[in-house]
């Protein structure tokens, strides 16, 4: 546990001193730009637009940061060879993977909180009345970030190329929103091979619809049992696979 915590600590420090702040500055600028643009619109319309656009921006920025940080999490350490000095210490490879993973989740979580603070600041400034559903939607975005990060980490351990890992993860990210369509498609396809392939993707890709509270703002299950359980089970399975892959890796 101590080892994992030490690795979490340096991962957060490394990421915060590294790149994440540049992305956040970009986000803050995008929000300010959007606010000026929507300033021309009057009253309620401005609030609604800033609320929706802001949440979309938070999700996209959050997921992009998560994908890039997760993919480079281990690959960058292998390329820079900094991994030699850690793995030649008495730590288990699983502890290393978990430490890096949780450090990354914590960093992206901190980034998400900062983006939400900027967003809330603007919303409150233009007279938005806060609602609980907003915070649940943000939590849903955080769960999506956890899922996509685990997938990105898994792909990065498969290949030695960051680009290939990013492409695969983005492919999964897009498919993650098309769960219902995939299920519909599999019921319509006659060819058994294609049917099995589509079904396979349906079960393997993460289903973001479970976590998408943004689009069904009035219809949120406030207990969050299904979304949390789904995220936990999916991430744990992915992390076990990551750990197996990593334990066989040579440096």
């Amino acid at each position: 546990m101590k080892n994992i915590l030490s690795i979490v600590k340096y991962t957060v420090k490394e990421n915060i001193r590294h790149k994440i702040f540049y992305i956040l500055i970009l986000f803050a600028l995008a929000i300010i730009g959007a606010d000026i643009l929507f300033g021309v619109l009057a009253g309620d319309e401005q609030v609604r637009l800033l609320l929706d656009m802001g949440m979309v921006a938070i999700e996209i920025f959050g997921l992009l940061v998560a994908i890039f940080v997760s993919v480079s999490l281990v690959l960058e350490e292998i390329e820079a060879k900094t991994i030699y000095l850690l793995l030649s210490r008495p730590i288990k490879r699983t502890e290393y993977i978990l430490g890096r993973y949780f450090g990354m989740i914590l960093t992206v979580g901190i980034g998400l909180l900062m983006m939400v603070a900027v967003h809330l600041g603007f919303l409150l400034a233009i007279g938005w009345e806060s609602e609980l559903a907003y915070f649940y939607s943000i939590f849903g975005i955080f769960l999506k970030i956890i899922l996509i990060s685990t997938i990105a980490l898994f792909f990065s351990l498969f290949s030695t190329s960051s680009v290939a890992s990013i492409v695969f993860t983005i492919f999964f990210w897009i498919l993650g929103y098309l769960g219902t369509e995939l299920q519909f498609l599999s019921s319509k396809i006659g060819n058994i091979f294609l049917k099995i392939t589509v079904k396979f993707f349906f079960y393997v890709i993460p289903n973001f619809q479970y976590l998408n509270f943004r689009d069904r703002y009035e219809n949120i299950d406030y207990l969050m049992v299904v979304p949390i359980t789904y995220t936990l089970v999916y991430s744990i399975v992915c992390l076990i696979l990551c750990s197996i892959l990593f334990s066989k890796k040579e440096f």
């Binding site: 340096y10 001193r17 060879k81 030699y84 210490r89 040579e250 440096f251």
Partner: protein
């Protein structure tokens, strides 16, 4: 007990290609021992398999055949790793952390913590003569300073065995002397030092024995006491040449 025991170690790298995998024999049936408390030089030209052997000892690579032991523990093992301090050829350190932060990280994961670690960090920084920049990010350090931090991280947990990969490469004369002094002090403290190098003169000055390796094969083990002073380089060259001739035939 031997600090290091390598038995019939063979390592073949396999480069996966579309049609046929490419194989490269990096270490070929290597066997030798390093006794506890000695300074042992592992000499060979570039690409002779020195780093591969070291990485196998550290569990970063897995042997194709054969086995390695550290103080009787078969590697890879966490118990073996806890007894090793490792200095890579180039100190691969996190440039976003400061010297203190990086030593704190490596100290903690090696089982040193709390106040003991704090005191130990000051102690090792003193040993490697890093007087300034303890709280500066490593990205701003010169090569020489990085090498000092590299040595500090290798000894932070007081390991019984030091494995140093090319510790003399790229050092200026003062740096060379400091590195030699650190190694000799560690030996005086009862540590075992195993280092790879192609700088023969340094090896002759401080080692009790050296192994000469080429193309992954052990050519000869030389006891420094048993040879005339300043002849190790000639022995090294003649061994390598003989092997080259055999290979050409």
């Amino acid at each position: 007990m031997n600090a290091i025991e390598i038995k019939n170690l063979t390592k073949i790298y396999i480069k996966k290609q579309l049609i046929r995998n490419k194989k490269f024999l990096a270490v070929d049936n290597l066997s030798f021992e390093v006794a506890e408390g000695e300074i042992f030089g592992f000499l060979g030209p570039n690409g002779s398999g020195k780093t591969t052997t070291i990485k196998t000892l550290l569990g970063l690579l897995f042997p194709t055949e054969g086995e390695c032991f550290i103080f009787g523990e078969k590697v890879p093992s966490l118990a073996a790793l806890s007894k090793i301090g490792y200095l890579p050829e180039i100190p691969y350190l996190y440039k976003y952390l400061t010297a203190r932060e990086i030593l704190s990280l490596y100290g903690t994961v090696s089982g040193v913590s709390g106040n003991i670690l704090k005191n130990r960090i000051d102690e090792v920084l003193e040993t490697v003569k890093l007087k300034t920049g303890k709280d500066t990010r490593l990205g701003e350090f010169s090569k020489g300073m990085l090498q000092r931090v590299g040595v500090a991280q290798a000894i932070i947990h007081k390991p019984q065995l030091l494995i140093l990969d090319e510790p003399f490469t790229g050092l200026d004369p003062l740096g060379l002397k400091d590195m030699r002094d650190v190694i000799l002090k560690l030996k005086a403290d009862g540590k075992t030092i195993f280092f790879s190098s192609h700088i023969i003169s340094e090896a002759e000055k401080i080692c009790s024995r050296v192994a000469i390796i080429h193309r992954g094969k052990l050519l000869r083990i030389v006891k420094i006491k048993e040879i005339k002073p300043n002849t190790l380089e000639d022995i090294f060259i003649s061994e390598i040449k003989q092997e080259e001739n055999k290979f050409a035939e």
